[in-house]
């Protein structure tokens, strides 16, 4: 991983970086696609909590065009959307690269699928 589900939850936590600190921008992402088991209950439950534009932009950054720009209403979720959501959230793994804070430019490296969210001492609140 990092899958986009995790990316949708991450924010920069450098001392004083409190606004525009999410989503983190990918830099040089190396991705791998891995199949994951489809579970519509999970997707329907998680749907309202998604930061939609962050998810769409991140997916486009990674070369995926399947999600609509606007988040559909819950009543209008069809199978096709669920399958696209499943793929984007759970099957695209960023294995290596960087995530950069749009506000303070702090770099969070990703290596072997593990993002490094540790801060240097002077960056901790």
């Amino acid at each position: 991983m990092v899958r986009l589900i995790t990316h949708n939850l991450l924010a920069c936590h450098v001392k004083g970086c409190n606004s525009n600190n999410f989503p983190l921008a990918f830099d040089g992402p190396q991705i791998e696609i891995r199949e994951a088991e489809f579970n519509s209950d999970f997707l329907m439950g998680f749907f309202p909590k998604i930061e939609w534009s962050a998810l769409v932009n991140a997916s486009r950054q990674l070369g995926d065009q399947s999600l609509p720009e606007q988040q559909p209403d819950a009543e209008n979720i069809d199978d096709a959307l669920l399958k696209a959501l499943h793929h984007v959230l759970l099957e695209i793994h960023v294995e290596n690269g960087k995530m950069i804070c749009p506000n303070c430019s702090h770099i969070y490296p990703i290596s072997n699928g593990i993002p490094n969210m540790l801060l240097a001492e002077h960056e901790i609140a």
Partner: protein, 277 residues
């Protein structure tokens, strides 16, 4: 196997340096061996996870080898738990917990690299007892409370207790018959027997002599965990009561409810729920 009387662990230097030496460095060295001894989920934790509705996403702060990431086993893809740990070597094991690719993050339990209130739940199992000062242990609970939903986020915390049962084989350094009212800082040895461990790349395999690592723990006394939660709530301006039935005036009220707390198998545990009206 006979019991071990544990050595007190005075914290003389800076708490972060103390944790680096007596916690982080050790876990990185013992990771595979440690992981092989941590495989059975505890019942209250398993029940907590089983009660989470489909679509829930949560944080396992101090995931270690990731043994809770695959739960619940009867509906494995209906919730997602993201594992955070300070030990990269343990994370490499957690990444494949239960034979599937998990979401793991290399981070610190005191730091909140998450959107505020983003998680439905968080668990902190045998983690904050490695923090060297009461302030840091309180801050860890603040961090956990900040990352769960202010309207209904749930939190489960487990820490080692001063009161150990006969199965734990650990004896604390104060009198065996005295009632211990204060938490204690101690070292708990880990014996790494070389033949059975798989050395990591940077670790040179040694000859027959078993290596002993002294891990730092703060053992909690009765009521101490709850006390920390109350202090953390005060810092975050949260009331510590059950959710009131209706707002008495137009201001927004926020709080935490201590759903349950107790002692189980040499641990103190506490379950909290955030509310907002």
């Amino acid at each position: 196997m006979s019991s071990t009387t544990l050595a007190p662990a005075p914290i003389e230097d800076d708490p972060e340096a103390h944790e680096k030496l007596h916690v982080h460095k050790i876990y990185d060295q013992i990771a595979p061996h440690f992981s092989s001894t941590r495989y059975k989920p505890w019942p209250i934790i398993a029940d907590f996870i089983a009660s989470l509705p489909p679509g829930s996403v949560g944080l396992d702060s101090g995931t270690g080898n990731g043994k809770y990431l695959p739960l619940p086993l009867d509906r494995p893809n209906s919730i997602w738990t993201i594992g955070l740990d300070r030990s990269r070597n343990l994370l490499q094991i957690a990444q494949n917990a239960g034979g599937k690719r998990r979401e793991v993050v290399w981070g610190d339990a005191l730091e909140a690299g998450w959107r505020l209130g983003v998680f439905d739940y968080a668990i902190s199992i045998a983690t904050i007892h490695h923090l060297a000062t009461p302030t840091r242990r309180r801050m860890a609970i603040e961090t956990l409370l900040r990352c769960i939903s202010p309207s209904n986020g749930r939190l489960l915390v487990y820490v080692w207790a001063v009161e150990q049962d006969h199965l734990s084989k650990r004896v604390l350094p104060s009198t065996a018959d005295g009632h211990i009212t204060k938490g204690q800082d101690i070292f708990v040895p880990w014996v790494l027997s070389q033949p059975s461990s798989k050395p990591l790349d940077h670790q040179a395999p040694e000859g027959g002599e078993p290596k002993v690592f002294n891990r730092y723990y703060h053992m909690f006394a009765s009521g101490e965990l709850e006390g920390l939660a109350r202090e953390a709530a005060a810092v975050l301006d949260l009331e510590v009561i059950s959710k009131p039935s209706s707002a008495s005036d137009r201001r927004v009220r926020q709080g935490i409810e201590i759903v349950r707390s107790g002692w189980e198998r040499s641990n103190w545990y506490m379950e909290l729920k955030r509310w907002q009206i």
